[in-house]
């Protein structure tokens, strides 16, 4: 039966790289019904196609490029897509999302998903246009940086409308936190999926399409979309949106430092004295030359910078996000913003995750300070705090896996193992993923988010901005009056298990739809009702007009991703925090003295999630409720359900 739902392109590509064959297949009805798209559908596919023995960098791993029903249709923001695989940096579930224009273009070219299986004998890239897809020789572009790669692909087809998602030298060289760069300066950064692409000898994906997408009921969908847009125009959000438009995410440098949560000196503290030097005002005044937006986006947080003189001049290029400024800036005590622009740009061109890269360099700087790494190990590089020249050199060495870069290319967890001694104490990660730009000692719930995030220590699977930035009305609306005060107290662990559980489910849909964390995480405008409102008229999936069904779907996705990790050995023991964030009280700044009460929050989280408190394993009854019988069948003999 052909795929019945609208909003989707309706087809996916199942590629056997080893044989060099591209199979075009109809999307499966149950994928959409039960898992929506993006993350959800990827979890189903990866559950089936990988197992506990799948080496992340082997031909057996499957790299998924996925979109959702909202990708490319009229909905703000609709420019997003995602990648997923078993991750090389962490060994567990890995997904990474990205904006720009490639996701929509892939759907306009006719495909919702691409599955890369096997390994190509020679470098190739996937080209998709108007329902056709082929693997093309990429020998001549192998080794090129991401911007040149895109230009060469466009020139080859004489088509400037082609959008791309490509890796740079880092991904080719197997740096474990390689990114996939989309449309020049956006990145599916986290968890090293660029290395998976490189291990398959795939340089990237390119698409241009005029097939378009339909709605099941266009008038009704446009009406629903208008209702959602009206929510966005509510005066309540005016300031947040204005700030995003003026500063992009750089505003967070100031906002986050104010609450003492800005990772500084390899996460030693959460307060950076020089934050103004790398903050929003100076960027907006001196360097910002234009605003940009992803496909169909009403927020428009992207901005363009130019540096005309000095040591790090650059032509107009996408400016760094908060996380990049944090990772190379405060976290390494570098207050020279021009060098941070440069480092961010190099990472995009080389195909490196700026967060993991900056964090790994900060880790190395601390080891150098402590005498665990010396100039003999670094090849003469003086890794003192704030040494921007050393940072610049390290980025190149890491991408090439040369010198000390060979070890640092493995991320902090593996690097600490290789270096030995006390190095592990300074490796700030969960499940092997370097922590992003938050700190649970200043914000309780982010501790739980880091610990339970299926891909490791970052904010994007369940961060709550409700207490971080203070949205009392929303807290009352979602969790009730009685709980509001405790929830709004950023340092209270109370009810944070419920909040994080709720956010994780919300973002499971956000990441499956696939839309952005802006308008869902911050400001917290769209909620479960948004999906109830827009999905049925767009797709024709009737059951999506039932709020209970929508929540259940979210839970199903959350549980399937967790089960994926259980199968690989993850239990409550792994759902924890690095010693620095768990046991060293915040030494300075507004959050001085803070520590997360992780156990209390975890207990509550497991209760809401439907998991066993001792192990974190799911309850059988919960899985059966969610139609995850196939998970029960596999995990029960392994004693991984309760």
């Amino acid at each position: 039966m052909t795929f019945p739902y609208k909003g989707y392109a309706g087809k996916y590509l199942d590629i056997d790289l080893t044989k060099g064959v591209v199979h075009k297949k109809d999307m499966e009805k149950d994928w959409a019904r039960l898992f929506l798209g993006g993350t959800g559908i990827s979890s189903k596919i990866l559950w089936e196609r990988t197992n506990a023995k799948t080496d992340p960098l082997s031909p057996e791993n499957v790299l998924i490029a996925g979109t959702g029903p909202l990708t490319g249709v009229m909905f703000s923001p609709s420019g997003r897509m995602m990648f997923a695989a078993r991750g090389p940096l962490t060994g567990v579930w890995a997904e990474s999302h990205v904006g720009g224009f490639f996701g929509p273009e892939m759907k306009y070219a006719g495909f919702d998903f691409v599955l890369f299986n096997g390994r190509s004998k020679k470098p190739v890239y996937l080209f998709m246009r108007d329902g056709h897809a082929e693997l093309r020789d990429a020998t001549h572009i192998w080794g090129q940086e991401t911007d040149i790669t895109t230009k060469m692909i466009r020139e080859e087809h004489k088509d400037p409308t082609i959008e791309t998602a490509v890796i740079g030298p880092a991904g080719e060289n197997g740096v474990l936190y390689s990114s996939i760069t989309v449309d020049f300066y956006r990145a599916a950064g986290r968890a090293g999926l660029g290395a998976v692409m490189g291990s398959k000898n795939v340089k990237g994906l390119a698409a241009s399409g005029a097939l378009g997408l339909e709605a099941y009921d266009m008038d009704k969908f446009l009406e629903a979309n208008e209702q959602e847009m009206a929510k966005l125009r509510d005066p309540l959000w005016k300031d947040s949106l204005a700030s995003l438009r003026k500063y992009g995410t750089t505003d967070l440098v100031a906002v986050i430092n104010e609450i003492g949560r800005l990772p500084t000196k390899n996460h030693w503290t959460g307060f950076y004295e020089q934050a103004d030097d790398i903050g929003p005002e100076i960027i907006a005044e001196k360097y910002r030359i234009a605003q940009e937006a992803c496909h169909g986006c009403a927020v428009g947080c992207k901005y363009i910078i130019q540096v005309k003189s000095g040591d790090y001049p650059t032509d107009p290029v996408g400016g760094p996000e908060y996380e990049t400024i944090m990772a190379f800036g405060s976290n390494c005590l570098n207050n020279d913003i021009e060098s941070i622009f440069y480092l961010g740009k190099r990472c995009d061109l080389l195909g490196l995750d700026t967060i993991s890269c900056g964090k790994t360099i900060g880790f190395a700087m601390e080891l150098y300070e402590k005498g665990i790494l010396t100039e003999r190990d670094t090849g003469g590089l003086e890794l003192s705090w704030g040494n921007k020249e050393a940072q610049v050199e390290l980025v190149e060495l890491i991408a090439k896996r040369e010198g000390i870069g060979k070890i640092l290319a493995n991320g902090v967890r593996k690097a600490a193992e290789q270096i030995g001694g006390d190095a592990w104490k300074y490796a700030v990660h969960v499940k092997g993923l370097e922590a992003s730009g938050q700190d649970p000692r200043a914000h309780q719930s982010i501790g739980l988010t880091y610990a339970t995030n299926v891909r490791g220590a970052d904010h994007l699977r369940s961060l709550s901005s409700l207490e971080e930035l203070g949205y009392p009305d929303i807290v009352i609306e979602r969790f009730g009056e009685e709980k509001a005060d405790a929830i709004l107290d950023i340092m209270s662990p109370k009810y944070k298990g419920q909040v994080v559980w709720d956010m994780e489910d919300l973002y499971a849909l956000v990441d499956s739809a696939v839309i952005c964390k802006y308008t869902t995480m911050w400001p917290p405008v769209f909620y479960f009702d948004t999906f109830v409102n827009v999905i049925p008229s767009l797709t024709g999936m009737e059951e999506w007009s039932d709020p209970r069904y929508v929540r259940q779907t979210a839970e199903r996705i959350s549980h399937l991703r967790r089960a994926f990790n259980h199968r690989l050995g993850v239990t409550r023991k792994e759902e924890t925090l690095p010693p620095r964030l768990l046991k060293e009280p915040m030494p300075t700044g507004p959050a001085k003295g803070g520590l997360p009460d992780l156990d209390e929050m975890l207990d509550e989280y497991y209760k809401y999630r439907g998991c066993d408190r001792e192990t974190g394993y799911p309850l059988e009854s919960k899985l059966l409720d969610l139609n995850l019988d196939f998970v029960v069948d596999e995990l029960k003999p392994l004693k991984m359900i309760k």
Binding site: F101, D147, P160, G209, G212, E214, A293, G300, P316
Partner: protein, 162 residues
């Protein structure tokens, strides 16, 4: 009164919502490639240029059409009569502003018809970059924004045609 779409190029973020809205209005689908307004981009030079029909006084497209497929509607706005258009591309070549294009699905020429006075792109643009202005105001805006961009892009704009 005749009106034209005026673009304020500094406000445009390149989000393509206008293309989406145009394709919905004219082809009942989400398909930017079928849009009558097209956002031209060169990311490496930070160039984002919305290209749309400027409703010229002396329309080169109409002159170039061998079949007379480009005609005026009741409001005096030129549109392409798709049953007459033979898809020869003469109009597309003739228009120096990139204001008329080919619909990749029908293979017929398409140009902006101002949505009969209430353009979908204007409503869709969240950044206020597109406005519907009277010809006099609009021409002024056109000179300010679009023409310099054309120059950067290397499009020759002949004297007197602006």
């Amino acid at each position: 009164m005749k009106a034209i779409l005026a673009i304020e190029i500094e406000l445009c973020t390149g989000c393509r919502s206008c293309e989406l809205a145009c394709s919905i209005a004219h082809s009942d689908s989400f398909n930017p490639k079928r849009s009558r307004i097209q956002i031209l981009k060169d990311e490496t030079r930070n160039l984002i240029v919305p290209m749309v029909c400027l409703q010229c006084e002396k329309p080169l497209c109409q002159e170039a059409c061998p079949n007379g497929a480009i005609m005026e509607n009741e409001q005096g706005i030129l549109f392409v009569e798709k049953d007459i258009c033979i898809g020869c591309l003469n109009c597309v070549t003739a228009c120096i502003y990139g204001g008329i294009g080919m619909d990749p699905v029908t293979r017929k020429a398409v140009k902006c018809d101002l949505c009969r006075g209430d353009p979908a792109c204007v409503k869709a643009c969240q950044y206020g970059a597109i406005k519907l202005l009277s010809v006099t105001e609009g021409i002024h805006q056109r000179k300010k924004g679009v023409v310099p961009a054309f120059h950067i892009l290397g499009v020759q704009v002949a004297e007197g045609q602006e």
